[in-house]
């Protein structure tokens, strides 16, 4: 019986091709905009999330502006931080801008960053060629450096820079490695940077205070405990002066980004669903017209022995057909739009299963909700009146 009804509904939709198509259009637009919006938002946010994750979720960043008397962190603070439970390592950063000279060619305003071995052991995909800084470099205050891809290009012109000597603020450093080119829309790229052991940076940058420290954790689940331990250490170090430091936990930032993503998805999805509802009303309208048009047919079917629930099922199927078809086309169209947009803005396109299910669920639901009233109307038609209206 279901199969027969399916055939009948299909036949009828095919017969009214243009009308079926136009009715479907509402659903197509609704579903495609939901799919496109949600997919694009998710793709963008995934890009941002992975960008943030690349900074490392296993680390806590401390920004210390310090007090007038102590304008940042010193070695003993680093030592204390590294002694906190579950801390895998501490990587301080001293930054400043200075002039770099190689073989007579000079580059001004280069960002020089004093780092330690922990930074290199904890950060993946950092080195292009050569080696990173090791413990001995730090302890012995070796005059070695790694250079960013832009620096390598501008000063060495394609020559292998490793083993060459570079004058950084007048002091000769040996290049031990080059850094991988990184693209980062947050602007934190190393392409224009020179990295040296932080123990040698004081002399160049003129300040022994460290304003930024990354604390790496053994277990990111313990970030709360570690964060509070860091607070204790820093409060002692800065005499409990307010605003002397801030602690940035990547984990927290990621979760707030995720919250924003979810909210944004819901919001945009919600706006797009309005068009789905409008599409549903379109289906209801067409089905009501169809019931009126086919009054005689309904009467005849009833006279021939069609039960009311069968008539109802047939009309309901037509509505669900329309909306599911609309949903499928909308899904394809929406995915296509998302693919194009993602390619244009350079984020990775990924269609999630839940989005697809959402689209189908939604369109089937719309079909049933807006199809039920016309279907009931059809099933309740009195066969005598229906047959009379020739």
């Amino acid at each position: 019986m279901f199969k027969e009804n399916l055939k009948m509904s299909w036949r009828n939709l095919i017969h009214n091709k243009m009308r079926s198509f136009l009715t479907m259009l509402g659903i197509v637009i609704g579903v495609s905009s939901i799919i496109a919006l949600i997919t694009i938002v998710q793709a963008t946010m995934n890009g941002m999330t992975s960008e943030f994750s690349s900074f490392g979720t296993d680390k806590i960043t401390v920004q210390a502006t310090g007090t007038p008397l102590k304008q940042g962190l010193i070695d003993s603070d680093i030592q204390k931080l590294s002694e906190i439970d579950d801390v895998a390592g501490v990587s301080p950063t001293l930054t400043g801008n200075t002039t770099v000279v190689y073989n007579g060619s000079e580059k001004k305003g280069v960002s020089v960053q004093g780092k330690n071995d922990v930074y290199f052991s904890k950060t993946e995909d950092l080195i292009e060629t050569g080696r990173g800084l090791n413990r001995l470099d730090i302890e012995n205050e070796n005059k070695v450096c790694l250079i960013g891809s832009n620096i390598a290009e501008e000063l060495f012109w394609g020559e292998d820079p490793i083993g060459e000597h570079l004058q950084i603020a007048g002091i000769s450093y040996t290049v031990t490695g080059t850094l991988k080119e990184s693209s980062s829309f947050s602007g934190a790229s190393n392409n224009d940077a020179v990295i040296i052991p932080y123990t040698t940076a004081t002399a160049i940058l003129g300040s022994g205070y460290m304003n930024s420290v990354d604390v790496y954790m053994n277990d990111s689940n313990k970030s709360e405990k570690i964060t509070s331990d860091i607070e204790t250490v820093l409060n002692q170090s800065f005499n409990y002066k307010e605003d002397s430091f801030t602690i940035i936990n990547m984990e927290d930032m990621l979760s707030s980004i995720n919250k924003i993503t979810t909210m944004l998805s819901y919001m945009l999805g919600g706006i797009a669903s309005i068009s789905l509802v409008v599409g549903g009303i379109g289906i209801m309208n067409m089905m009501l017209v169809s019931v009126t048009e086919r009054t005689t047919e309904i009467g005849l079917r009833k006279a021939l022995g069609a039960e009311p629930k069968r008539i109802q099922q047939q009309f309901l199927l037509e509505a669900v057909f329309l909306s599911l078809f609309g949903g499928t086309i909308g899904l394809l169209l929406g995915a296509l739009i998302a693919l194009v947009v993602c390619t244009l803005i350079g984020s990775t396109f990924a269609l999630s299963v839940s989005t697809v299910l959402l689209a189908f669920g939604f369109s089937a639901g719309i079909g049933i909700i807006f199809g039920i009233a016309p279907a009931r109307k059809a099933s309740k038609l009195n066969p005598i009146d229906a047959l009379r209206s020739v």
Partner: protein
């Protein structure tokens, strides 16, 4: 006498017209036996359409008892009525009432679809009955590719395909020219001779004379006369 297949006693049907109840069928009693060919003859407004709806289980009486094939029709609900229409009654309408988008055979199959007969059996039975009414060559034609007489034959085939207890025809020649009408009446005669029970509603005395029994209806009341055949 042979078996009673239809028995109406004291059927009253009233319709609400504003504040008044209008009596359309007034205490009607009618018995039809297996193999009868009954004409119900009456002018328009006499209540003959209401009576036909009642006989065809499309409508239920306000009062009175109606038994069709040993089932009390007046006590059935809508879906039971649908099922009894499907099994016991074959409708033939004045305007044929074929579905324009379906071929002749698909139209004939329709009651079998609702009876839940599997597709293969359905096709087979529909085809055989179309052959019987002389349309074996035209089973895939759409109604608009058939003449009026041929369309009515398809409709008759559709009415007979479920092998119903009664064939109920409402002005079956009303939309046909005289010659074609006579051919259709000829078909009814043949079916009658094969033992089918036929009830025909008409306003035309000449057409009614084809039946073996004529029942007059006027102002909702029945009066029977035994025909000459």
């Amino acid at each position: 006498m042979s078996e009673q297949i239809l028995n109406m006693t004291g059927i009253i049907k009233t319709y609400q017209m504003g504040d008044d109840d209008q009596v359309v069928l007034d205490n009607i009693s009618l018995t039809v036996y297996r193999g009868d060919f009954v004409a119900i003859l009456g002018p328009s407004g006499s209540g003959k359409s209401t009576l036909m709806n009642m006989i065809g289980c499309l409508d239920t009486p306000t009062r009175g008892q109606y038994i069709l094939s040993q089932q009390k029709v007046d006590e059935l609900d809508e879906s039971e009525l649908a099922s009894i229409r499907n099994k016991e009654v074959g409708f033939v309408f004045q305007q044929f009432q074929l579905l324009p988008r379906l071929s002749a055979i698909q139209n004939v199959e329709l009651p079998l679809v609702y009876a839940g007969v599997p597709e293969k059996t359905r096709k087979n039975r529909a085809w055989k009955i179309l052959e019987r009414v002389g349309l074996g060559e035209k089973i895939h034609h759409r109604p608009n590719q058939l003449s009026g007489g041929q369309q009515q034959r398809v409709a008759i085939a559709r009415a007979m395909v479920t092998e119903p207890t009664i064939l109920l025809a409402d002005e079956p020649t009303g939309a046909l020219d005289q010659r074609t009408g006579q051919q259709i009446m000829q078909l009814f005669h043949e079916l009658h001779e094969e033992g089918k029970t036929i009830i025909m509603i008409t306003h035309d005395v000449e057409i009614a004379k084809n039946a073996s029994r004529i029942v007059h209806i006027l102002d909702g009341k029945l009066r029977e006369e035994f025909a000459h055949v």
